[in-house]
């Protein structure tokens, strides 16, 4: 009967029609006011709309009814409702209430455990596991207790009983092992984690010994085999470590095992007083490595192990003592290069050893401090003997081409380590790279090597450009812009020849954004098919850049894609965590929890969220409605507390750009050099959390809070220093002045006109003179690096200023009219300037590029490259010209539309029709509710 009554509700929910589901629930409740299942389903439907308070109200009333949650329909619907609004404590209350009436129901006990487990409530999880085990005595529940104890000690809030809990968990797990209840390595891994938490390495070794009942599984598990060797090293049982590693290296080729083996050998040699013993040991080791290198497919690992051995011996000071057996690190490095130079991976394998040799292994953070010029000269000498041969033979085969690529990569590294700051040295021979890499016939046959060569050419040219036109001069003249513009056709042509090369695309995206060309950068980004977790790791390449370049809607779409990924993750991970408990695959549980935590407190997540909030506010334009939206917005949840900021985890991938140099040498780190704006830090998050909060308190007319947040804003900006971009600083200063104006208006202060003038001045400073756009060359000097970003910043500040004015008017604050008048005047003047930009981007821009960047007679660093590209790859140059002009035009249109649609919701004029559908979708996703 109940099922039949509820069917329409379930159907509506299945069809994601929440409105209909609510209608059906209300229909049943009207007829049967005490229908608890309908009430619980109504709570669930309401939860899906985000109406948390109503859900809690209904839930409370249901729980007051005796035996209500003994009904499985009621229980399940209510639990799902609480889950949707993320209220685990209420979920648990439902299960506890149900258990009072159904104490023997194993499924409820189990559900209670899984709820606590997936909500990181470790103490409650332990109690639930104990209760389950007591009531039903199953082996699985014993392990649930063991895992709960481990998690409580590792991840729970500080407990005085940590050692006691670990000992208890250890005893229970060891007993299971003795009773042969440990059937697979999943259980064993938990035991190992418990022992590791107590630093009990001896017991770990015992658990991993060949006498273990799981010996066979351990032997076939590469992780456990490696863990055993590392434990021998940790416990300084070097002979055992060598023996164990040696046995596994007979049958496997894991680099981690080689590393432990070499470490154990080096330590053992240190303990041998007699040189002849050391020589003998080393001879045996080299003999074994030589033998392994003869096995098919294993030469690379074994040969690299010899390099590692040489590095370790020299680093430990045994080089002279044992030099007769293992040659010097420099020689070993070149032996390796000679053997594997035709493998794409050769450079990546050997790079760190070059750095260690030249700079000393302790200089990873800042290698430039301890450079040995003699060693660089040695490597230069070795390289010069080989590089010419490699160049001459590059056409012979793919392997030969790859050998040349590797030699050139080594040359690049040595130049960096030497600190070559002469741009000419970086552009040397690039013409050869381009001839090779951009040859369509060669690209067809040797695609990987050709793409590598194109990338290498661009990396050298970018490096040269940044050396020639240092940071402090970049804003004042256009030579850097022109240089980057010249590099872009090379990347575009490389992408045309090999559309799958993501590195070329990433560099092109960076350069386009550097030149303020959002649309072309975005088009390339879209071809990378970034989705799911890549939003978290790679989103930093572009999220927020649309906002800074006047392309608000495309940026909002990307931000929503990111935000929805994090929301999905919130539900996905607990579900799989529950599966892990049910399946007994315990080893992943700590890792799942850490992974979830890293996503939950992801840096990029906070950044994406703040960008979405800003885009939403801006995209609503200067309409009065936005005041109401801001007034109702929950801005408490984005309070930038110190503890929140300290808990953030940075998943942003800054190593993805295929750098050829150690990350620590920042002047030669192309990922850092090509950033269009500084990578957002905690201060950025603080600033853009305060922004919606200040606007909320202005809308809500809470002057005290506006003042408090304004003070926080000042502190945040001061603390941030150079970590904020010019754009961010403009927004911060603008917001500070908006707050000042509003406070002054509220307090009927005398200096309101002065404050309005200051605010207007900040906005106007970022808007160029209308006449600027009459001079083609002058525009190009500044536009790509500064003008559009400054204009977009002014636009953002203006939007907030108008919103504050609307708030002042709706609160009938005296002086709001003069505030409005000042903004209207500002708008009139600004609109002429931004319209001039649009007109310039629409027509003269193309000619300006041709005159100032392409056909110019003015010699400069990359003139030869420019000529070469125009002569041989004119089409690629045209693609870049079009990409730049179109992108600037779109930015200009976006900004103009904003100023034009002063009092109505903003829609990009040009994209009006295209975005009509998208806009509807975006409205559904709004964060500011």
């Amino acid at each position: 009967m109940e099922q039949r009554q509820l069917r329409p509700v379930y159907d509506a929910l299945d069809n994601e029609d929440v409105k209909q589901a609510l209608k059906e629930c209300n229909k049943i409740i009207r007829k049967h006011p005490n229908h608890l299942s309908a009430q619980a389903l109504k709570a669930y439907a309401l939860a899906r709309t985000g109406a948390s308070n109503e859900v809690l109200e209904i839930g409370e009333s249901i729980l007051k009814v005796p035996r209500s949650v003994a009904n499985p329909h009621v229980r399940q619907a209510l639990v799902r409702a609480y889950k949707s609004i993320r209220r685990p404590a209420e979920e648990i209350a439902v299960y506890n209430a149900a258990l009072k009436h159904l104490p023997d129901d194993e499924s409820i006990h189990s559900a209670l455990f899984l709820t606590t487990a997936s909500n990181e409530m470790y103490a409650e999880q332990h109690h639930a596991a104990v209760a389950l085990n007591k009531a039903f005595k199953r082996q699985r529940y014993t392990w649930w207790i063991i895992v709960s104890l481990l998690l409580q000690t590792q991840l729970g809030k500080g407990s005085d009983n940590t050692q006691l809990q670990l000992s208890l968990a250890q005893r229970m797990a060891e007993k299971a092992l003795q009773d042969h209840q440990i059937k697979n390595t999943e259980h064993l891994r938990i035991l190992l984690l418990i022992l590791e938490a107590q630093n009990n390495h001896e017991a770990m070794l015992k658990a991993l010994s060949p006498d273990s009942p799981l010996a066979q599984q351990i032997a076939n598990d590469p992780d456990l085999v490696t863990q055993r060797i590392s434990l021998f090293v940790k416990t300084r049982a070097f002979k055992e470590a060598m023996s164990s590693a040696s046995q596994t290296l007979e049958i496997r080729d894991n680099w981690a095992d080689y590393k432990h083996y070499v470490e154990a050998v080096t330590e053992e040699i240190g303990q041998l007083a007699d040189d002849s013993d050391a020589h003998q040991l080393l001879r045996n080791v080299c003999g074994s490595i030589e033998k392994w290198s003869q096995v098919r497919g294993r030469a690379r690992g074994a040969r690299l192990a010899l390099v590692e051995l040489s590095a370790k011996l020299h680093c430990s000071g045994y080089g002279d003592r044992l030099g007769s057996i293992v040659s010097s690190l420099g020689d070993q490095i070149w032996k390796y290069v000679d053997t594997f130079q035709n493998k794409a991976i050769c450079y990546s394998d050997i790079m760190q050893y070059f750095v260690d040799h030249v700079c000393g292994s302790s200089a990873t953070q800042d290698p430039s401090t301890t450079i040995s010029v003699a060693f660089i000269d040695f490597h230069d000498n070795q390289l010069s003997q080989r590089i010419q041969h490699a160049r001459e033979n590059a056409d012979n085969s793919e392997d030969c081409a790859q050998a040349w690529v590797n030699m050139e990569k080594i040359r690049y590294l040595l130049q960096t380590l030497r600190g070559d700051n002469n741009p000419e040295l970086w552009t040397k021979d690039v013409d050869l790279f381009l001839e090779f890499g951009l040859d369509p016939k060669k690209a067809k046959l040797k695609q990987a090597a050709c793409s590598d060569m194109v990338l290498l050419a661009c990396q050298r040219l970018i490096q040269a450009a940044f050396l020639a036109y240092p940071k402090e001069q970049q804003q004042s003249h256009g030579l850097l812009s022109r240089s980057l513009f010249i590099i872009l056709p090379i990347l575009e042509e490389g992408i045309r020849l090999n559309g799958e090369n993501f590195l070329l695309k990433l560099y092109a995206i960076r350069l386009y954004l550097y030149l303020s060309c959002y649309s072309r950068a975005r088009a390339l980004y879209d071809t990378l098919n970034i989705k799911n977790i890549q939003n978290d790791t790679l989103g930093h390449f572009i999220v927020g850049q649309g906002l800074a370049l006047g392309c608000y809607i495309p940026d909002l779409e990307l931000s929503y894609a990111g935000v929805s990924f994090y929301d999905r993750a919130h539900f996905t991970i607990p579900h799989e965590l529950e599966s892990a408990y049910k399946n007994g695959t315990y080893s992943n549980i700590p890792d799942f929890l850490e992974f979830r935590n890293n996503l939950k407190h992801s840096f990029q997540r906070e950044i994406t969220h703040r960008c979405a909030l800003r885009s939403e506010t801006i995209s609503q334009g200067c309409s009065k409605d936005v005041v109401e939206t801001l007034k109702a917005a929950d801005t408490q949840s984005i309070e930038p507390t110190d503890s929140m900021l300290a808990s953030l985890h940075d998943n942003r991938d800054v190593k993805v750009m295929g750098l050829l140099t150690p990350l620590g040498i920042t002047e030669w780190n192309l990922e850092i050099l090509t950033r269009p704006s500084p990578l957002p830090t905690e201060n950025w998050i603080r600033l853009y959390s305060l922004l919606p909060q200040i606007m909320h308190y202005i809308a809500a007319a809470d002057v005290d809070m506006v003042e408090a947040k304004q003070r926080q804003l000042l502190n945040a900006v001061e603390e941030a220093g150079e970590s904020l971009s010019a754009y961010d600083k403009t927004v911060a200063h603008g917001l500070h002045h908006i707050a000042s104006v509003y406070i002054c208006l509220s307090q009927k202060g005398d200096s309101v006109d002065e404050k309005i003038d200051s605010l207007v001045k900040i906005i106007e400073t970022n808007i160029p003179e209308e006449q600027t756009f009459d001079q083609k060359a002058a525009v190009l000097d500044k536009l790509p690096l500064a003008t559009i970003r400054a204009l977009a910043a002014a636009t953002e500040v203006f939007t907030y200023a108008v919103t504050a004015k609307h708030a002042a008017s709706s609160n009938r604050l005296p002086g709001s009219n003069s505030f409005g008048f000042a903004l209207t005047q500002l708008r009139k003047r600004s609109l002429r300037c931004v319209s001039a930009l649009r007109a310039w981007a629409n027509k003269p821009a193309r000619a300006a590029i041709c005159e100032s960047w392409i056909d110019t007679e003015q010699p400069m660093l990359l003139s030869n490259v420019s000529k070469y590209m125009q002569t041989k790859h004119k089409q690629a140059v045209d693609v870049v010209v079009k990409g730049c002009v179109d992108s600037w035009l779109k930015s200009a249109k976006g900004i103009v539309a904003h100023w034009e649609h002063y009092a109505t919701p903003r829609r990009s004029v040009e994209e009006h029709e295209v975005i009509e559908d998208t806009w509807g979708d975006l409205n559904k996703k709004r964060l500011l509710r």
């Binding site: 697979n184 390595t185 999943e186 060949p210 010996a215 066979q216 599984q217 351990i218 032997a219 076939n220 598990d221 590469p222 992780d223 085999v225 490696t226 055993r228 164990s244 046995q247 596994t248 080729d253 894991n254 680099w255 981690a256 080689y258 497919g297 690379r300 690992g301 794409a344 991976i345 990546s348 394998d349 799958e500 090369n501 993501f502 098919n529 799911n532 977790i533 890549q534 978290d536 790791t537 790679l538 999905r568 993750a569 996905t572 991970i573 799989e576 599966s579 892990a580 399946n583 695959t585 080893s587 992943n588 890792d591 799942f592 850490e594 992974f595 998943n651 991938d653 190593k655 993805v656």
Partner: protein, 165 residues
């Protein structure tokens, strides 16, 4: 240089970056985690000397409970610059061995795009898979797949491991 180790949840970040251009398929997080939560012993990653994941194999057991039990390779990916180094073979061998050792699998199966000649040749020539049948329109973009299969019993049953490791 490469270390092969069991995949972890946190590897999902690196696994998807590995897929940046390698595979048209880029599964949802749920799918990766489902594999790791259900058959953690079967999925492996290849890590380079800097700890960066450069390849992975995602594998599972078929869930229809039919006899004999068989495993399935869901996804195999190796970054382009790390190809021709035997990494795919090592990953596959590790997964196959775990299927046999842990789950007593008798067969292992996989699907491969009929246009993916490099992968097909790896499975057939290097890893000794046979074509079982062709599945029309198996992939979301409408491409057909070869369903390939390999007998694991003959491979490992006679093998005597030296347990004194």
């Amino acid at each position: 240089m490469i270390t092969i180790r069991q995949a972890r949840a946190s590897d999902e970040i690196a696994m998807q970056n590995c897929n940046l251009t390698n595979l048209p398929e880029n599964y949802h997080m749920k799918y990766y985690l489902y594999h790791l939560a259900t058959w953690p012993e079967l999925s492996f990653v290849a890590e380079n000397e800097q700890g960066r994941v450069v390849g992975y194999v995602l594998a599972k057991m078929n869930e229809d409970m039919t006899e004999p039990l068989d495993g399935h390779i869901t996804s195999l990916s190796v970054m382009r610059s790390y190809r021709r180094l035997g990494i795919a073979e090592r990953l596959m061998n590790q997964a196959q061995r775990a299927m046999f050792e842990v789950f007593d699998a008798k067969f292992v199966s996989l699907h491969v795009r009929i246009s993916n000649i490099a992968a097909f040749s790896l499975y057939r020539n290097t890893l000794s898979f046979d074509i079982d049948h062709t599945e029309p329109k198996y992939y979301a973009d409408g491409e057909d797949a070869y369903s390939m299969k390999k007998d694991l019993t003959a491979l490992y049953s006679l093998e005597q491991e030296n347990l004194d490791f």
